[in-house]
Every structure is written in structure tokens, then in C-alpha cells.
């Protein structure tokens, strides 16, 4: 039983960063119909910004929070520039054009990251208070995993409240559902699209910053996580934030259980999930006709 609980905790914690990065991706797709390949580069940028702010040394929890926010804000700003200079001009174009533009942005941001930080990997020490593991019910759980789970819960609740309970959320859902009708009813779509793009990008940066103390921070981060986050979005359903949450946790838990009980399947759960969903429910597990409408 302890083995199952430990695997479950590790899996949920592993799924949280995926959820954060994929929620930004799916939010942007839900409103603008832009499948942003550059999301992985924004994720990596968040990790680099956090490591730069903290300088690699072990921070206090407060400094870590500040650095997380700085990373989210900086990457959100990069997202804002991208939206204004590139994507805004492409909302009326076909998917292929926006895909190519976002792929070009991925390469550009990757190149800029290498120019600024170089190709030598760096690392970020964990806050001392968040390092190590604690015993819970006979199993050892990494403290930072618990922090990640907490942050994931807060973000999921925050996004739900934002989309369901705020007037801004109403506008987001209106534009996501039918932009033309929303405009006819007085919703200014531009005032929705830019903040959504910024929020989505900031979430990518936050996810990268969250995982920075656990990984080698180097240019290879971008392709690694862009693949996983797209898989989450495909499994969860394009444009569905609850879908992203379910898919990210599902992938994390499946992978963790594979490690513990079926090592031969390790590394394949992601692809098995994508293949199964594309075959059985091509729209994704929690897809709706307009994605964010049901968020």
C-alpha cells in the first residue's frame, strides 16, 4: 500500500509542472486558436530567468517566491511582445501559417537564449527549507513535491475562478465560444486576446521556473517539455483547462506507476496516451466544441 501511495504522490507531483505549462498552451489555443510551438522555449526561458535571479545559490523561500514571480512576469512580457508583433497579425490566417510562425519563434527564442546564457548547463540550488523528504504514513515524500502539488492546486483553483467567476473570464469564454458573436455583443476581443496570451506565456515561464531546481538548465529543456506539454493538451482536449489538469496528472501517475510496477512501460505512457486518445476520442478526454466554454 505504501508503494502505491508513494508512486501516486510522485506521479501527481510530476504532473503539476506539466499541467502549469499545458494550461497556458491550452488557454492560448482555446481563445486564439494558436497552437504555440514556442511554448517550450518560454518554459525554458522561465528556468533561465529564475536561475539568473537567484544566481544558482540556495535561496530563502521568500526569495524563491519572488524569483518565481519575476520569471513569470518576464516570460509574460516576452509573450506580450510575441502577440503584438507576430500572432495578432495571424489570427485570421490558417493553422499552418500560425504553426510555422510559432515554430520560427521557437527557434528564435532558443537562439536568443543560447546567445544570452550560452550552451553550458547550469543548475539552481533548492531552498534549504524545501530540500529533503518527510515521512508521511510510513512513506518518504520529497518536500518540494508537496510544494509543487500545493501550487498546482492553487493554480487550478485560481484559473477556474478566473474563468468562471470573473467578468474577464466571461469575456474569455465568450471569445473562445464565438468571437464574432462576442464582438457583436460588445466584447472587445483584442482586450481579451493580449491578456490571455500574456497569461498563457507567464504560466509557461512559471512552470519552467518551478522545475528549475530539479533539472539541468540548458538549451535542451525546450524540446523536451514542448513534446510533453503538447501531449497533455492533445490528451486533455484542445482548449480545455480541466482536460489539461486531468491529462497532466494522468500522465504523471501512469509514468510513476510504470516505474514502480511495470518498468518495461517506462517512457511510453505519454505516447500510449496520445495514441489511445487520437484513436478513441480524437478531441481529447474533456473536449468540448469550443474548449474553454466549459472551463
Amino acid at each position: 500500500m505504501g508503494e502505491i501511495v508513494a508512486a501516486l504522490v510522485a506521479g501527481v507531483a510530476g504532473g503539476v509542472p506539466l499541467f502549469v505549462v499545458a494550461s497556458g498552451l491550452t488557454l492560448i489555443y482555446g481563445v486564439m486558436r494558436v497552437l504555440n510551438f514556442a511554448h517550450g522555449a518560454l518554459f525554458a526561458l522561465g528556468a533561465f530567468v529564475l536561475a539568473t535571479v537567484l544566481g544558482g545559490a540556495a535561496p530563502s523561500p521568500l526569495m524563491l517566491v519572488v524569483a518565481l514571480l519575476v520569471a513569470a512576469v518576464v516570460v509574460g512580457a516576452v509573450g506580450a511582445v510575441s502577440e503584438v508583433t507576430i500572432f495578432r497579425r495571424l489570427y485570421t490566417r490558417d493553422h499552418t501559417t500560425t504553426l510555422l510562425a510559432s515554430y520560427a519563434l521557437l527557434l528564435t527564442l532558443g537562439g536568443l537564449t543560447e546567445q544570452i546564457w550560452g550552451v553550458t548547463p547550469r543548475s539552481q540550488a533548492q531552498a534549504i527549507e524545501l530540500a529533503g523528504a518527510v515521512g508521511i504514513g510510513g512513506i518518504r515524500v520529497a518536500v518540494y513535491d508537496l510544494v509543487l502539488i500545493g501550487i498546482g492546486l492553487v493554480l487550478a483553483a485560481g484559473l477556474t475562478v478566473l474563468l468562471r467567476r470573473s467578468s474577464f473570464g466571461q469575456n474569455i469564454r465568450a471569445v473562445a465560444h464565438d468571437e464574432t458573436m462576442a464582438r457583436a455583443l460588445g466584447v472587445r476581443a483584442r482586450r481579451v486576446q493580449l491578456p490571455v496570451f500574456v497569461l498563457g506565456s507567464a504560466l509557461a515561464g512559471l512552470a519552467g521556473a518551478l522545475i528549475a531546481p530539479l533539472v539541468s538548465i540548458e538549451p535542451g529543456l525546450a524540446p523536451t517539455f514542448v513534446v510533453q506539454s503538447f501531449a497533455v493538451v492533445i490528451i486533455g482536449g484542445l482548449g480545455s483547462i480541466p482536460g489539461a489538469l486531468v491529462a497532466a496528472l494522468l500522465i504523471g501517475v501512469l509514468e510513476s506507476f510504470a516505474v514502480s510496477f511495470q518498468p518495461g512501460l517506462v517512457g511510453f505512457s505519454l505516447y500510449i496516451g496520445v495514441a489511445a486518445v487520437l484513436l478513441l476520442r480524437p478531441g481529447g478526454l474533456l473536449s468540448t466544441s469550443s474548449g474553454l466554454r466549459e472551463a
Partner: protein, 405 residues
């Protein structure tokens, strides 16, 4: 239509990681001898390429400072290996097409495996840098599989044998190992070599084998599972990592969360590790690693000169194994060019067979039949130390002589 759109997007997404680019070319004058150097110059493997190129550049600069080859200066023509056999073969074709027929470098064994047959069909010669698969040279068979390809790196089997030999001697009580590795040829070969090298595998218990896709960076589930299986058995337990680069660094950082290094008697791996320890800023765990080089392992004038030259390029930093391999490629070409007295690739190829030159480890000979350099393997015992150069305390280095043919 929605299905087609999703499937297309998925295909495009899963293709992203394999994309890369190649390029190259040179407009050098005829009075210079051009050596083409293929290495990954950007992206996830950019650091490796940078080190390989730095090493080759040091050798070329030293040769030029000594007057060149019969008065002709050497010029390094660097081109991007990319991340796939396709990009690597294109890079090789570009160089040969531009008349650069002395080619060296390369990181990935898969890429070397794809380029060697291309070189074999051309008038060019190839000295591989980091590629270390057992079959690429005749290190263990005595007969090189390609007449125009040579290798300076220690083979995977040599590094695995070396670390197994040392761990077997120093930790005879450790009989149970967990292994975590990248699921491809190098990862599997290295672990098989290590396991077989420990008393031929007899009496060794493998607690948990975990094989992950190349470039995996999230190991929390694996670390958690490994940690659960280790409780209270420290003295008899070891962990072997068949990972490298970001994989090794990620594992170590995530293992720290569970105090995993403190729960085992020995943590070992093969392949370049110094750069990983350096990136951890003094937080690297106690590690036993086998690879071609450690700057502290060789007390020779050539090594001293090499370390100083690299330090001058990078604010006193120490060269790593990849730099050393690039350096050996440059030294091998310099020696062969001097012996041949010409840059005609056929005569250089002939000169490379059996050529001897002074490397950082001492005299190095490339086997006339095997096309393999007889370099030793270095087993390094290191631990993170914030007050030491590069944040690493090199506790001990053990030089294991070349064991091939």
C-alpha cells in the same frame, strides 16, 4: 478534418526534437591545410561541440605556432553536426564537396555510424572525436571495419571495464546495484559492460533496472521508487547511472530530495561527468566515474600545456573529456601530416595507420589495423566542494591502461 488536424499537429510536435541544421564551407587560400571539424554547435549538445572544437583549436594553434606543416598553416573548418544522422551526413558531404577531405570530430556514435560509410565512398579521411561505440574501430576485433575512419576516444567497453575494475576492488561488499540509464545502445552497452566487469556478473544482484528515453530529465518517479527500495541497506548497495549530461545532472538534483546519495555505498557512472559536477556549483555528490580524461590524472608536459591553453581560453576553467578528444583529433592529424609530408588524404590516411604522437596521457599510437588510439581510461573519484576550482574536489584519479588491441 479535426482528426487530420490533430494528427498533423501531433506529428509535427513529435518531430520537433529531431530537427537540426547543417552548414559549412570554407574559402581558404591554397597555402593552408584545411581540417574539417564536425561537431554539434547549438542546442542541447552545443556544450559538447564547443568543447570538442576548443580542443581541436588548441592543437591547431599549437601546430601553427610551431611553424605549421612544412610552413603551411592549419585551418579548422567547423560545421554543425546537428542532432541526427541526416544532419551529420549532410555536414560531411558539405565538407567533402568543398574539398575539405581531412575530417574530424563528431559526438554521437549513431552519427559516426552514418558518416563512416559516406567517408568510405569518398577520398576523405575521418578521425572521430567522442564517438565510442565498440564496433566503430577494431579495438576489440583487431581489424577496423572502415579503411578511412579512425577513432581516438576510448570505447564504451573500455570505460565500463575500467569503472567495474575499480569499483570491484574498492567496494567488494557492494553486491546489489540499481541501474538507471538511457534506453539506447550506449546506455545498455555501458551497463552490460559494468555488470559483466564485476566478477563477470557473478554474485551481483540487480535490484531495479530502469531504462528511459534518451534526454529524459524528470526522474522523480524513479528516484522515489529507488529510494523506497534502499532503506537500511547502505553498505551493500550501489547505483550505476548509464546517463549523461542533463540526464545525470537532473537525476542527481532530484536524488538529493530523497537523500539518495547518503543511502548507498557507491554511485558510479561512465562517460563525461566533470561538466555535470561543475554545473552543480559545489553540490555534486560523491561519484566514481570512468571516462577518457581528468585534468588531474596526467603529470606530463603535454597535459600541462593543454590545461593551460584551455584555461587561457576560458578564465582558468579545466578542460573536460570532450576537449581532450578534440585535442587528440588535432594532434593525430598534425602528426600524420608531418609524417606524410603532404595533405593528400590518401597519404595522410596511410600515415595515420600506426602513427605515434605525444598526448596528455603520454605517447599515443593509432593501431595500424584497428584504427584505434591506445589511450588509457581515467577513473575519477570526485565530490562537490564549493571552495575548490570548478566547485569540484578531485579526490583521486586512477589511470587504467588501454585494454584493446
Amino acid at each position: 478534418m479535426r482528426k487530420v488536424w490533430l494528427a498533423s499537429a501531433a506529428l509535427l510536435v513529435f518531430g520537433v526534437a529531431g530537427c537540426g541544421s547543417a552548414g559549412g564551407g570554407s574559402n581558404a587560400a591554397d597555402d593552408v591545410i584545411r581540417i574539417g571539424f564536425i561537431a554539434p554547435t547549438q542546442g542541447a549538445f552545443g556544450e559538447i561541440g564547443e568543447n570538442l572544437v576548443d580542443g581541436a583549436r588548441i592543437a591547431v594553434d599549437q601546430a601553427n605556432a610551431a611553424g605549421g606543416i612544412d610552413g603551411r598553416q592549419l585551418e579548422l573548418v567547423v560545421t554543425d553536426e546537428g542532432t541526427s544522422p541526416q544532419t551529420a551526413t549532410q555536414a560531411a558531404r558539405d565538407l567533402v564537396g568543398d574539398g575539405v577531405e581531412l575530417v574530424g570530430g563528431m559526438f554521437s556514435s549513431a552519427n559516426c555510424g552514418a558518416v563512416a560509410p559516406i567517408i568510405e565512398q569518398s577520398p576523405a579521411v575521418l578521425i572521430t572525436g567522442s564517438c565510442a561505440s565498440n564496433e566503430q574501430t577494431g579495438a576489440f576485433t583487431g581489424q577496423a571495419p572502415f579503411t578511412r575512419t579512425f577513432g581516438v576516444a576510448a570505447r564504451d567497453r573500455s570505460t565500463a571495464d575500467a569503472v567495474a575494475e575499480v569499483i570491484g576492488q574498492r567496494f567488494p561488499q557492494v553486491r546489489t546495484f540499481d541501474v538507471l540509464g538511457f534506453d539506447y545502445k550506449w546506455g545498455r552497452e555501458t551497463w552490460d559492460g559494468f555488470r559483466d566487469g564485476l566478477d563477470g556478473g557473478a554474485g551481483i544482484t540487480v535490484n531495479r533496472e530502469q531504462w528511459l528515453p534518451l534526454n529524459t530529465t524528470d526522474f522523480r518517479a524513479q528516484v522515489s521508487a529507488m529510494s523506497r527500495g534502499l532503506a537500511g541497506e547502505r553498505d551493500g548497495r550501489g547505483v550505476f547511472l548509464s546517463t549523461y549530461g542533463a540526464g545525470t545532472a537532473g537525476f542527481i538534483q532530484q536524488a538529493e530530495s530523497f537523500d539518495l546519495p547518503q543511502q548507498i555505498a557507491v554511485l558510479a557512472n561512465a562517460g563525461e561527468y566533470y561538466n555535470v559536477a561543475r554545473s552543480l556549483n559545489g553540490r555534486a555528490p560523491d561519484m566514481w566515474n570512468a571516462y577518457d580524461y581528468n585534468y588531474a590524472a596526467f603529470d606530463t608536459p603535454v597535459n600541462q600545456e593543454f590545461v593551460e591553453a584551455y584555461g587561457a581560453m576560458h578564465d582558468g576553467a579545466r578542460p573536460v573529456g570532450w576537449t581532450y578528444q578534440g585535442y587528440l583529433v588535432g594532434l593525430a592529424y598534425t602528426a600524420a601530416l608531418q609524417e606524410a609530408g603532404t595533405d593528400d588524404p590518401e597519404q595522410v590516411r596511410t600515415a595515420l595507420e600506426g602513427v605515434t604522437f605525444d598526448g596528455p596521457s603520454g605517447p599515443v599510437t593509432i593501431g595500424a589495423e584497428s584504427h584505434q588510439a591506445d589511450i588509457p581510461t581515467v577513473v575519477s573519484h570526485t565530490v562537490g566542494a564549493p571552495d575548490q576550482p570548478d566547485g569540484i574536489d578531485v579526490v583521486e584519479t586512477i589511470v587504467v591502461p588501454y585494454g584493446g588491441r
